[in-house]
Subunit: 242 residues, 2 copies
C-alpha cells in the first residue's frame, strides 16, 4: 500500500539543499498558443511536474498539435493528445463557416466552438484523477479575449465546483483546483509575464487560419489580439506572418 503510494509520487533530489522534494503533478491544457505556453512555463517555474494534454477535435489545421509537441519537448513534459470526435457548429471545425478577418468581433464570434472548454476540462479532470493530480492549468483569459463564454471567471468557478462533486478524489476531500493565472491580464501583461518566465514565443502559434507553411495570417481575431499584445508590451513578435 505504502509502496503504491510512493510510486504515485515523483521525488526529486535538490542537491543545493541536500533534501528530497516531492513534486506535485499538474495537468496543463496546451494548444500551442501564446497563452497556454505561458501557463506551462508558470507551472514549471512553480515546481509542478507537468503533464500536458492537447486535443485533436477536427480543427482545420494541425499547427496547434505541432507547436504543442515542440513546447513539451522543450519543457521535458509528458504530452498526451486526446483524439476526440469533431465538435460541430464552429468556423474552427467547419470550413463552410468563414473566419472573421475584418477586426476583433463584437459579441460571440463564429470561431466559438460549442462547449469546447467544458469538453477539454472534463478530459483534464478525468486524466488528472487517473494520474493522481489535483491541479489543472488552463490559459483562459477574460480581458483581451474573443468573447467566448467559457473563458470567464464565473464559468471556471462553476466548473471547479462541479468537478469537486464529480470525482472520487473530490468526495474524498482531495479537491481539484483549476488554475487560471492569465484570466485577469491583458494580452500585453501575459506576454510580459511569459518573458519573465523565459517563454520562447517563437515556438507558439495563435492563428486561426495559417498558410500551409504554418505562417500566421495576421488578420484573424486571434492574430489581431496577439499583435496588439506584442505592440503594447513593446516586444517584437518572433513568429513569421504571411
Amino acid at each position: 500500500m505504502e509502496r503504491a503510494w510512493l510510486c504515485n509520487r515523483i521525488f526529486k533530489s535538490d542537491r543545493s539543499q541536500n533534501k528530497i522534494i516531492s513534486m506535485k503533478k499538474a495537468v496543463i491544457l496546451l494548444s500551442g498558443g501564446l497563452d497556454s505556453a505561458t501557463i506551462l512555463a508558470i507551472a514549471k517555474n512553480e515546481g509542478y511536474e507537468c503533464h500536458c494534454i492537447s486535443f485533436q477535435y477536427g480543427q482545420r489545421h494541425s499547427i496547434e498539435l505541432e507547436k504543442s509537441e515542440e513546447l513539451t519537448r522543450k519543457y521535458r513534459c509528458t504530452h498526451k493528445v486526446f483524439d476526440i470526435p469533431p465538435i460541430a457548429g464552429s468556423a474552427l471545425t467547419n470550413s463552410n463557416i468563414d473566419i472573421q478577418k475584418t477586426g476583433v468581433s463584437i459579441g460571440i464570434p463564429a470561431t466559438y466552438v460549442p462547449a469546447r472548454n467544458t469538453i477539454f476540462l472534463s478530459f483534464a479532470l478525468s486524466y488528472a484523477e487517473s494520474i493522481g493530480a489535483h491541479d489543472i492549468f488552463i490559459g483562459v483569459n477574460a480581458v483581451d479575449y474573443s468573447g467566448y463564454p467559457d473563458c470567464r471567471p464565473e464559468y471556471i468557478e462553476a466548473f471547479q465546483n462541479m468537478a469537486n462533486l464529480a470525482t472520487k478524489a473530490g468526495v474524498e476531500g482531495k479537491h481539484t483546483k483549476i488554475h487560471t493565472p492569465l484570466i485577469d491580464l491583458t494580452k500585453a501583461e501575459i506576454i510580459k509575464l511569459g518573458i519573465a518566465n523565459q517563454v520562447d514565443y517563437s515556438l507558439t502559434s495563435s492563428c486561426y487560419d495559417p498558410d500551409i507553411f504554418g505562417n500566421a495570417c495576421g488578420t484573424c481575431d486571434s492574430c489581431r489580439l496577439r499583435l496588439k499584445g506584442f505592440a503594447e508590451a513593446g516586444i517584437k513578435d518572433p513568429i513569421e506572418y504571411q
Copy 2:
C-alpha cells in the same frame, strides 16, 4: 433567416386536433441499460424529438452500443456514437482491474470511471447546442446505485449551473435543463415507471461482464441491482442470464 429558423424545427401534424405542433428537441444519453431505456421512453412520451448519443470509451464489451442501437431503431430516433479515447483508471475499461462479484460494494467501487458522466454530459451539451436542443436526459439514479459521485443530485445541479455559463445559448438566455427523471427512484420504481411507459426491457443490458453471447453474469453490482429491482417490482426480468 426565417427559413433557417424554420429548418431548425421539426413540425408534426397532429391530425386529431387538426393543428401543427412543434416538437422540442432533446438529447438522450443512452447506454443500452435499463435506466437509459426508461428515460428515452419518458422523453418520447413527453413529446420530445429524441436525439440519442452513446459513447465508445474503451469499454471491455460492445453490448452497450448494440443495445443502444436496437433501442434507437425501436423508437425511431437519431443515434450518434461518440468514439472517444479510453478513460483510464476503471475496472470497466481495464481488464487488469477485477470487477467485484461478491455483492453490492460499500463506498465507491472499482467500476468507477474517473469523471465519466462529466465527459458524457459535456459532449451532450456541445451536441445539444449544435442541433438547437436545450434539454438533456440522463438516467442517473442516487437511490439503488453503485455509489458513483457523478450520479448525485448535487452533482447534476452543479453541472447544469456550469453548463449555462459555458455556452453561447446559455449566455443568450436559452438555458439548458439536465433532466434526471429517475434520480430519486428505487430500481423497482424505475422498472414500474418503465413498464408504464411501454419499455421493452428485453432490449436492454445492465451487466458489467456479459459472456460472448451477451448474456448477463447475474453477479456484478449492476446485475444484482437490476435483479433486486425486478424482484421488488414483482416483474420477471426478460433478459437471459448465464
